[in-house]
């Protein structure tokens, strides 16, 4: 119910942005020197002579069918463009969250166990820096150091041009496609392009995930069942990883799902810096060319995923925590 309302709210806001805020979409199309009958005809073709609620109804119907109109910039249907750009973003954000959660959870656990120790300080500083540094600037500086000066990784883009046309896109995920084709050289190339932006996104989710893991674990380690387990003579490793972390995992799954959603959204800036041909770059390119159909289409797709992951985290929470189950 809430999800439906939220989604309707998202569509209402994008409708409002696209149809109501611009002074007159007809003038934007025909220009201000067009004769009156042309203006009237275009107005009718666009359905702008109908009352606003009817326009919204028509808009809803179109969006639900996946029709976001045509992009002025590429002259393709917006949905087609988005379908082409999305795998790049998915690949980037997924590797990012793998890095972030894979390092962030153990670091957070460690910080909680050795409270006030070295790892705890590192987690604290990592978190503070992660919350304070502009991601696009850090990306630029990382490019400068690791690509231009040290030459450890490849530069902007997804893959070198020489490989670009030899690959048959199957899933659109380059790492997967190159492995399936057995093109190991291309795989290595794609990975060397991917690793820097993915680590960057990974760092930002790590900052958040490790901080949350630490506070959840501190909470669990103070519970009585931990004392009981110690009294029973269980090893510290077993208590921490099997008992406490399992309980801390419940809220942690929500945190990870939310930061995954945040990465999909946050990739707008990262993709711009790394010229990564994903959804974020598509939206910003469209923005710069005043291509409103594409911008709003991208907004709706990203927004839907964001809302979907929000819902998923709620569902997972209920599944994992027996106390919230309805008897």
């Amino acid at each position: 119910m809430v999800i439906l309302l939220t989604y309707l709210g998202l569509l209402a806001v994008t409708f409002f942005i696209g149809r109501v805020i611009p002074v007159d979409p007809v003038l934007a199309i025909v220009g201000d020197r067009a004769p009156a009958h042309v203006i009237a005809r275009v107005r009718e073709e666009l359905g702008l002579n109908k009352p606003l609620y009817q326009q919204f109804y028509i808009y809803l119907g179109k969006v639900l069918q996946g029709d976001f109109g045509t992009s002025v910039l590429t002259s393709n249907p917006v949905m087609q463009d988005i379908r082409r750009a999305f795998p790049a973003t998915l690949e980037l954000a997924s590797l990012g969250i793998l890095i972030g959660a894979g390092l962030g959870v153990p670091l957070g656990v460690w910080a909680a166990v050795r409270r006030g120790g070295l790892v705890d300080q590192v987690v604290r500083v990592t978190g503070l820096v992660g919350y304070s540094v502009p991601i696009f600037w850090l990306g630029l500086m990382a490019l400068l150091v690791f690509y231009a000066r040290l030459g450890w990784v490849s530069g902007p883009g997804r893959i070198d041009v020489s490989y670009e046309f030899t690959l048959v896109p199957v899933s659109g995920l380059l790492l997967l496609d190159t492995v399936m084709a057995g093109e190991w050289e291309a795989f290595a190339n794609a990975l060397s392009h991917l690793i820097l932006p993915a680590s960057l996104l990974g760092y930002f989710s790590l900052a958040y995930i490790s901080r949350m893991t630490r506070s959840f674990m501190l909470n669990e380690l103070a519970q009585e069942y931990v004392i009981a387990a110690r009294a029973k003579g269980l090893s510290e490793v077993r208590i921490i990883w099997r008992h406490a972390l399992r309980n801390a995992m419940v809220p942690l799954v929500t945190v990870i799902a939310l930061s995954y959603a945040g990465l999909l959204e946050g990739s707008v800036l990262t993709e711009t810096v790394f010229a990564w041909p994903g959804l974020g770059l598509y939206i910003t390119n469209s923005l710069q060319n005043a291509d409103m159909n594409a911008v709003l289409g991208g907004t709706i797709v990203v927004g839907s995923i964001f809302i979907g992951l929000n819902l998923l985290s709620d569902v997972l929470y209920k599944l994992l925590d027996p106390r919230t189950r309805v008897r």
Binding site: V2, L5, T6, G9, L10, V13, T14, I17, G18, I21, P22, L128, V129, Y131, S132, V133, P134, I135, F136, W137, L138, L140, M141, L143, L144, A148, S215, L218, A261, E265, G266, V268, L269, T272, V273, I283, T284, L287, Q288, A290, M292, V295, L296, G298, T299, V302, G303, F306, I307, N310
Partner: protein, 308 residues
Amino acid sequence: MNDTTLAKRETLHDWLMSDRPLSRRQASLGRAYNACRTFTRNRLAILGLLIVLALVVVALAADLLAPYSAYIGDLRTTRLLPPSSAHWFGTDDQGRDILSRIIHGSRITLFVVLLVAVLAAPIGLVVGTVAGYAGGMVDAVLMRITDIFLAFPRLILALAFVAALGPGIENAVIAIAITSWPPYARLARAETLTIRQTDYIAAVQLLGASPWRIVLRHIMPLCVSSVIVRVTLDMAGIILTAAGLGFLGLGAQPPTPEWGAMIANGRLYVLDQWWVAAAPGAAIFVVSLAFNLLGDGLRDALDPKAAK
């Protein structure tokens, strides 16, 4: 002489820390004193406060402090110079001194942060207190709207707003404010729910005060401090979002020395003239770090429950 001042301070300390205050003034002064003590014990928070104060001073005295013009450079002699004693942070592609531009840019950062706080916090405060005090249908509808806005992707939505309104610093501020009020509404509602159960609210109701008067005069003032803490913690995020919009060319327009836009400009030269992009980014980093430290300290001092 020395002994007497010491003794006097001791008694003042005791008077302030007294757990049986004799007057309202003593009680409130004692609370403020206690909060100050907690705050000043946190050295990082003090550092944050000092940096924020420095930002304010730099913004106010930008014309006096900036060694060169922020808008006009010399294209023939000072183009893309590396950092030196004449130009501490180097010069950009228009021959402008980067330090001077950063100093002037602090005004824009401060302007954005203050304006977003002034716009978003009251919206959240009103929505939250009204929902919490009214209850029933009003509460359900207002909180549903808040939930909807809370589930939105903020940066993308701000992007779409700015795209429709047109680029510019004012529109960026409006877009950020529209997307950042829901957490304040949640917070204010939670506080209101506990406040409305208290005896003094029942007393004001018996005196016949109107609901609006109760909300505005008796509930809202009590929610302000926790909202202020939350706003301070959010300021780093506001600065980063504004800089991101500027970086994408949707915030302040050139030649305005906005820090995000300066990074976007420096991006073109980053491989050879790294200082053009590095300096404004470092400025953003330092200022948002300061707001984070200050916010953490304020939270610990004013709201001991929330501190971990």
